[in-house]
């Protein structure tokens, strides 16, 4: 077996040193009735070539995004990731290291995390950010728990433009707590409705911008209303490229920002692994979930970085930790920070503008088709279309013609009465030919 260095002769010698004559003796603590005889009924070992052949076969069974005109978004976006990003994250020193518990020999990971935290804070307009969460949805769920701890209140309001899966993931985590969540039925441009729900017991409102329909949401009014009642605003961003063109949630008054970072540095990979961003005001730092890298000095006075404020975390605080999270999204955060460094402010702004304008171009073209109406009032790179037919069927029809037209809203929430809504995203990877293909296919299907 190519991954196992011991030879049978060595195994024998080692057993002699241990003082046993067979490996079974070492497993003697296993109750007899639970010991397996022989091999489990699964295939035997395979060469690299055989495994590759089998997995390629599976890979070929799907229609990958790069093979088709592609317009899916709704929380995951297909952006171009520079080749150097994937090269660097596959360096052994990053790929095969553990969480940096020994700072003297982990400065590579720690310094990149410190840089990551800084970039996330700058981008979201927040004072501090942690070293990543699993993804945007779990990050949002943790933010709600944090808001309840900070405010010592238990009411939470979801805006009508919050991604339904984010709402579900948060409900899941909150269900066993005393947090009471009010959900407003999904709507394209009605996020300010949360204001009517805020009262003296409200811990937080959760507002996504651009929202799940692509609508840019003015957080300022909402933040003002929330802060008057002592409630916090959790702003959710699922397309972080938008922050290269759109005012940051921090600037608009958000107290906590959670985001899906996948757009930067990370491929679609059918939904994961992604990277959750979590940023907030500095005064909440001791209530934050997740790891934090911090600056310090070594015994010679040289600058260095360590994991810090770990008394918040499960390995120290156990049952009273701010979260149970342990392993986070380290390598995805690294990919994020490398891509962000390659972009820099200049590149990010250009990328954002390109995305926005390309989306405007497509919206304008599609809006002219019979049976198609653009219903998102003001958007970044994703908008909702109202179709003359149920969107799910149209998407299926187009998929059969190798056009991945977008996400029917009913896939996210079939009970919202929005069966005619199609979410369409445009990134820098979409070409004019792709525009033509979508336009023609839609014409045919409607």
């Amino acid at each position: 077996m190519r991954y196992l260095p011991l030879s049978d002769a060595e195994r024998g010698e080692m057993m002699k040193t241990i003082g046993v004559s067979s490996i079974d003796e070492i497993f003697s603590d296993v109750p007899e009735s639970a010991r397996l005889d022989g091999l489990i009924d699964l295939p035997r070992q395979k060469s690299e070539m055989e495994v590759e052949r089998a997995l390629r076969k599976l890979s070929n069974m799907s229609l990958s995004a790069g093979e088709a005109p592609f317009f899916c978004g709704a929380g995951a976006y297909r952006h171009h990731v520079p080749a150097s990003v994937d090269h660097i994250i596959q360096r052994s020193e990053f790929l095969t290291a553990y969480t940096p518990y020994q700072p003297e020999i982990s400065q590579g990971t720690l310094q990149t995390l410190f840089e990551f935290q800084t970039q996330v804070a700058l981008l979201t307009g927040m004072e501090v950010a942690n070293a990543s969460m699993y993804d945007g949805s779990t990050s949002t769920a943790e933010a709600v728990l944090m808001a309840a701890r900070v405010t010592r209140r238990n009411k939470c309001v979801f805006a009508p433009g919050l991604h339904p899966h984010y709402a579900e993931a948060t409900q899941m985590l909150a269900r066993t707590t005393d947090i009471d969540i009010t959900e407003i039925p999904s709507a394209i441009d009605a996020d300010a409705q949360v204001i009517d729900q805020i009262d003296d017991e409200t811990a937080c409102v959760v507002v996504q911008t651009p929202n799940v329909f692509g609508t840019l949401v003015d957080l300022e009014l909402i933040a003002k209303a929330a802060h008057e009642k002592g409630a916090l605003v959790i702003a959710v961003v699922t397309e972080v490229v938008s922050l290269g063109a759109v005012k940051s949630p921090g600037e608009m008054g958000a107290d906590i920002v959670t985001a899906e970072g996948q757009s930067i540095g990370n491929p679609l990979t059918f939904g994961g692994p992604y990277v959750g961003l979590f940023a907030c005001r500095e005064k909440f730092v001791r209530q934050m979930p997740g790891r934090l890298a911090g600056e310090t000095v070594d015994a010679d006075g040289n600058r260095g970085f360590v994991l810090t404020l770990s008394t918040r975390e499960q390995h120290i605080r156990r049952g009273r930790a701010t979260s149970n999270i342990c392993t986070n999204a380290g390598l995805c955060a690294l990919a994020w920070t490398i891509h962000m460094t390659l972009l820099g402010e200049k590149g990010l702004r250009e990328l954002a503008t390109l995305n926005h304008r390309r989306a405007r171009q497509l919206a304008e073209r599609l809006g002219k088709l019979d049976g198609v109406e653009v219903v998102t009032p003001r958007f970044f790179n994703e908008f909702a279309l109202r179709l003359a037919k149920p969107a799910a069927g149209v998407v299926e029809t187009l998929a059969a013609q190798n056009v991945l037209a977008g996400v029917p809203f009913s896939r996210l929430d079939p009970n919202a009465g929005l069966h005619d809504i199609l979410l369409v995203a445009v990134t820098e990877t979409v070409t004019d030919d792709d525009f033509d293909a979508l336009e023609n296919a839609l014409k045919g299907a409607l």
Binding site: M1, R2, Y3, L4, P5, L6, M14, I18, I23, D29, V30, A34, L39, I40, D41, R44, Q45, L58, M61, S62, G66, S92, E93, T96, A97, Y98, Q102, I105, Q111, A129, Y134, D135, T138, Y166, E168, L173, T177, A245, S248, E251, P267, F270, G271, P273, V285, T296, D298, G304, Q314, R318, A321, N324, T327, C332, L343, G344, G347, T353, Q361, V407
Partner: protein, 525 residues
């Protein structure tokens, strides 16, 4: 001989001083292959970029008041500069590919590169989670195959693939238990038994799921104290969270009895499967009475740790809990695969959804690639080699170092700090001296039940030669500690890119991000 700095504290340890005699500090601060590297923010500027984009259409934006006007402050680097920045930083990291990384409980085994290549195939890496089902059949088929391997290896009827790490899997399992109890009207059952040797995520998870934690002591063999457990059973017990093999690296001999006791008392058995790597192919948790168990794909099935993730924590379920497993999950319908994404489409009563999409697909591909490579035979051999390697180290080190418990261990060997008694050297110092020797330290001070714990997990990836050299080094260090070479330990590390870091300062005056000089000056005033 020591030069003293202003604080009167030796600025260099005696050993390093002697070694450095006759040498010069470099002018650049770099030392041959060890390059100093500035913070990105100290060197990049906001006009520089390493990405060229297609031309932007010459049309107006429509962002109104939403337009971001102020500078963000994000520095950029061109590609050659970025490569150098990150490659230099990478060289300040220890890694499995560099040397022995014997972190107990963390399972730092070799990460086969085939798996990386497979995860990047377009039919996995370039698929959107919300594409129509008809266009993602290969991905769903892969998830189905992975489920088959995991349920077969564990002997459990169902699996939820979506949890994103071990701790997320714990949540998944405990929420299923909670849903089952609630469905049965057992709303009084809110107490969860957790051994005092448990990983911190266990009590943290139980509390997050609305349970209270009742700690069970370990007995003097390092296992659950059965009598104490019996005394804690009652009609308010929701279940137990037990790690097996446990965090002391020992198989819980009485595990069947424990499962029976818990079940008779009306509770459920959550098994923390972080240490499943010791028994794959030899024992099926389903035969031990387990109701739910997470599997860390990033430990047992070799998906890389990546400096702290991503992980994946698929969670297997018994028949009793399977109906409550979360959405989404994959089912085979004739010759097609389907994704069940909503509670109302499910056969059972899912407790909900763990996260936005379907789980860590990239990790699923890697784990399946690993399993197919090993096969039933290789997986069993890998477990046996991991256990053999740990027992070999235990045998070589026992005596000069003090083992925590008698008997054979499973995949990791646990020592206490008795062998350092009266030497002035503590576990932490011993670990830091290992760094100078070119080794990553073992897990320290965990589990909490052993004083000054040193938990060594070599994994199956180490050769005998490598283990022999590693053991020789540890024995030499133990001897040096006993011989009074305290400074060797107290000053360590002296050969790493940095000396010991001041963690107290980091926590007392947290600096969690870079700030522009003006902002820092303002803050200081």
């Amino acid at each position: 001989m020591n030069t003293l700095n202003k604080q009167g504290r030796p600025s260099r340890p005696a050993v390093a001083q002697a070694e450095n005699e006759g040498q010069f500090e470099t002018f650049s601060g770099s030392k041959a292959l060890q390059q100093t590297e500035l913070l990105l923010f100290d060197r990049g500027d906001n006009e520089r970029t390493g990405v060229d984009l297609p031309e932007t259409p010459d049309i107006a934006d429509d962002l109104g008041d939403f337009a971001r006007k102020d500078a963000i402050g994000l520095p950029g680097l061109t590609e050659p500069e970025a490569m150098r920045h990150y490659v230099r930083l990478s060289q300040k990291n220890y890694a499995i590919d560099l040397g022995v990384y014997p972190l107990g409980s963390c399972t730092m085994k070799h990460n086969p590169r085939l798996n990386e290549k497979m995860a990047r195939l377009p039919g996995f890496g370039d698929l959107h989670p919300l594409q129509p089902e008809s266009t993602v059949q290969g991905a769903l088929a892969l998830m189905d195959q992975l489920s088959h391997w995991l349920t077969t290896l564990t002997g459990m009827p169902a699996v939820a693939l979506s949890p994103k790490a071990g701790a997320h899997g714990e949540l998944c399992g405990m929420l299923a238990i909670r849903a089952k109890l609630d469905a049965d009207g057992q709303t009084k059952r809110r107490r969860v038994l957790v051994p005092d040797s448990a990983h911190g995520t266990n009590p943290a998870t139980a509390v997050q799921c609305g349970f209270t934690v009742d700690e069970i002591p370990s007995d003097d063999t390092g296992r659950v104290d059965l009598e104490a457990l019996k005394g804690k059973l009652g009609d308010d017990v929701a279940g137990i969270m037990l790690t097996n093999p446990n965090t002391c690296g020992l198989f819980e001999r009485d595990i069947r009895t424990i499962a029976d006791l818990i079940h008779e008392a009306g509770g459920y058995f959550y098994c923390d499967g972080a240490n499943f790597n010791a028994i794959v192919g030899r024992v099926r948790p389903g035969d031990l009475g387990v109701d739910a168990m997470h599997i860390n794909l990033h430990k047992t099935f070799s998906t890389p740790h990546g400096g702290g993730g991503p992980g994946a924590g698929p969670t297997v379920f018994s028949d009793a809990l399977a109906p409550y497993a979360p959405v989404p999950y994959v089912v085979k319908d004739g010759d097609k695969w389907k994704l069940v994404e909503r509670n109302e489409d499910a056969e059972g009563a899912p407790f909900g959804r763990m996260s936005a999409f379907h789980g860590q697909m990239g990790m699923f591909v890697r784990a399946l690639s690993y399993m197919m490579s090993h096969g039933a035979d290789g997986l069993k051999q890998a477990s046996e080699d991991a256990v053999l390697n740990a027992n070999y180290l235990l045998a070589l080190l026992d005596g000069p170092m003090t083992r925590a418990f008698d008997g054979y261990c499973m995949h990791e060997a646990l020592f206490n700090d008795n062998f350092l008694k009266d030497t002035g050297v503590e576990t932490l110092d011993f670990a830091k001296a290992m760094i100078d020797e070119g080794y990553h330290p073992m897990t320290m001070y965990f589990p909490l039940v052993v004083h000054g714990a040193l938990l060594i997990e070599p994994t199956e990836s180490e050769s005998k030669t490598s283990l022999d050299r590693f053991a020789d080094t540890l024995l030499a260090l133990a001897e040096a500690a006993k011989a009074g070479e305290t400074e060797r330990f107290k000053q360590a590390p002296v050969h790493a890119p940095l000396r010991r870091l001041d963690e107290t300062r980091a926590a007392r005056q947290p600096v969690l991000r870079w700030k522009p000089a003006e902002a820092e000056a303002q803050a200081a005033q």
